[in-house]
């Protein structure tokens, strides 16, 4: 459906992405990478806001830029840092967006009400946008991105600023949406995509590291993640991934090729995998 073919993006001398190739079919794709890895750059190229320096992006075999309006008609995009008219209300802003998305007028109001309900904003539909909280604005953004019932939904950090209840609601919503469309969402918050993303795309050193299922990614670290008491001696070949609260006080989660002394092997979580994958980079920095 959507294929990214050997795409490179440079900003002047800086190569933000290099030689990325991806084939995306229906389902949820989580784009998981640290700050500055190029997630937004990739998403902007998919949204035709930026053009690849090299390579091309195709939708059903057709170059997306050349598709023009036809492509924009099937795309829903939530920018990472979007703006709005502070004096308008969510309903007014969505009516405006609906008109520019060529949604038939007769259908607009019904669709807006349904979406506002879906993101839990029915009560705030007629309050000015400048009076809404950050999380509420983010939900307005999600609703706007879904207005045209897009076949390709690109959400750049959609869960930023959402409270836990809203996160769960968002996850359920995306899950139910993904049956017949492509959803791509970026985040740094592992738990946001652990349960809903069919595949996780990771970027490292400006290149594509993997596009695998969460189970496959975790599987690579099976038998290599151990839990140690906080006062344990850490060997040079062991990497401390995170610190947490166990039943008997603080415990460390450690990446190690060999089982450490008094270490308990634990099932690797996606967060462990994320930290392990980017650990070497952070230590090198």
């Amino acid at each position: 459906m959507l294929s990214v073919e050997r795409v490179t993006k440079c900003y002047g001398n800086l190569t933000a992405l290099e030689d990325i190739s991806l084939d995306l079919a229906q389902g949820v794709y989580g784009l998981l990478a640290p700050n500055g890895a190029g997630k937004s750059t990739l998403m902007k190229m998919l949204a035709t806001l930026l053009f690849p320096t090299k390579g091309r992006i195709l939708w059903d075999g057709e170059e997306i830029v050349a598709m023009g309006e036809r492509y924009r008609g099937l795309l829903g995009y939530l920018p990472q840092d979007f703006g709005y008219y502070p004096n308008s209300t969510p309903r007014q802003f969505m009516r405006y967006a609906a008109a520019l998305q060529k949604i038939p007028r007769a259908e607009t109001d019904r669709r807006i009400s349904r979406l506002l309900e879906l993101v839990g904003l029915s009560d705030a539909a007629d309050r000015k946008l400048k009076r809404l909280s950050g999380g509420m604005l983010q939900r307005v953004g999600i609703a706007v991105a879904m207005l045209n019932d897009p076949r390709l939904l690109i959400l750049d950090e959609p869960t930023a600023g959402l409270d836990p209840g809203e996160r769960v609601r968002f996850r359920n919503m995306i899950h139910s949406l993904a049956e017949d469309r492509i959803v791509i969402l970026s985040t740094h918050i592992v738990s946001d995509i652990e349960t809903i993303a069919g595949r996780i795309i990771m970027l490292r050193d400006h290149r594509l590291l993997c596009c695998d299922t969460p189970a496959q990614i975790c599987g690579r670290f099976r038998g290599k993640i151990f839990q140690l008491p906080a006062d344990a001696q850490i060997m040079p070949h062991q990497h401390v991934l995170s610190e947490g609260q166990g039943e008997n006080g603080t415990v460390l989660r450690v990446l190690s090729e060999m089982p450490p002394e008094d270490g308990v092997a634990v099932a690797p979580s996606l967060e462990d995998a994320f930290l392990a994958i980017y650990a070497s980079k952070r230590e090198g920095a």
Binding site: K44, A47, L49, F51, G68, Y77, F82, G83, A97, A99
Partner: protein
Amino acid sequence: MNDREIFPVEVPLLTEDEKKRAVAMILDTAMPAILPKSAIWRELCRTAGMVGLRTLFFGVGDCFFLAALVMCVCLFPAAAVMAGMARAASCLFLISPAFYALSHLLTLWKEYQTRTLEWKWTWRISFRTILALRMLVLGAVSVAGSILVCAVLWSLERQAVSFVWMLSVAFSALFLYGSLSLLGQRLWGMRAVLPVPLAWVMVSLVPVFWEPAAVWLMQIPAYVFLAAAAAGAGFYLIQMYYFVAAGISGLDRRLGI
């Protein structure tokens, strides 16, 4: 000795058909004329009918108010003072595109300020179509405004110059400015947004402050200005076509608007 003698291999030349296609491809890249002319105007009309004035100017209504205010409070009184000194014609060049230029600049500035452009660029109706419709509406308002301003200045000047002459100066200024600013935007995107109006102001101020230029201006007959206005209007519509065509075909982001 040329390459051919060193490498006496039969190099297949381009067939006539291939040549034609290559030229067409190069032309397409240089001028994104992908849609036929009538299709663009039909698309503009259809979009105008679909979105209506409210959507067209959603969120930027205050910009027009501000532009109109500047016109009424600063520029028009200044022109009236000049009219008292029988110099109104000199400032017509500056004043007739002023509302168009000011409101266009203010709306673009506001779009940037509110950071809504990333959204608008990905919505189905191309942002350029919206910009083009706004420009056409602004142009129409400016034409009507110019007639009014000319009438007032003409009566203030106690009809020292002919009304038709003043009108032709105003229209030529409006259409020339419109087509130059559109050409700039089409070719250089946002980089042309400020330089074109600034250059226009500089040039227009010459006859206001330099007597010989004003005298020379007065000697140019109306039909020259009318011809300039007609050429400007034609050029404007051609530029508008390319501007919108690039937006619909999705090539617009290369140009920054």
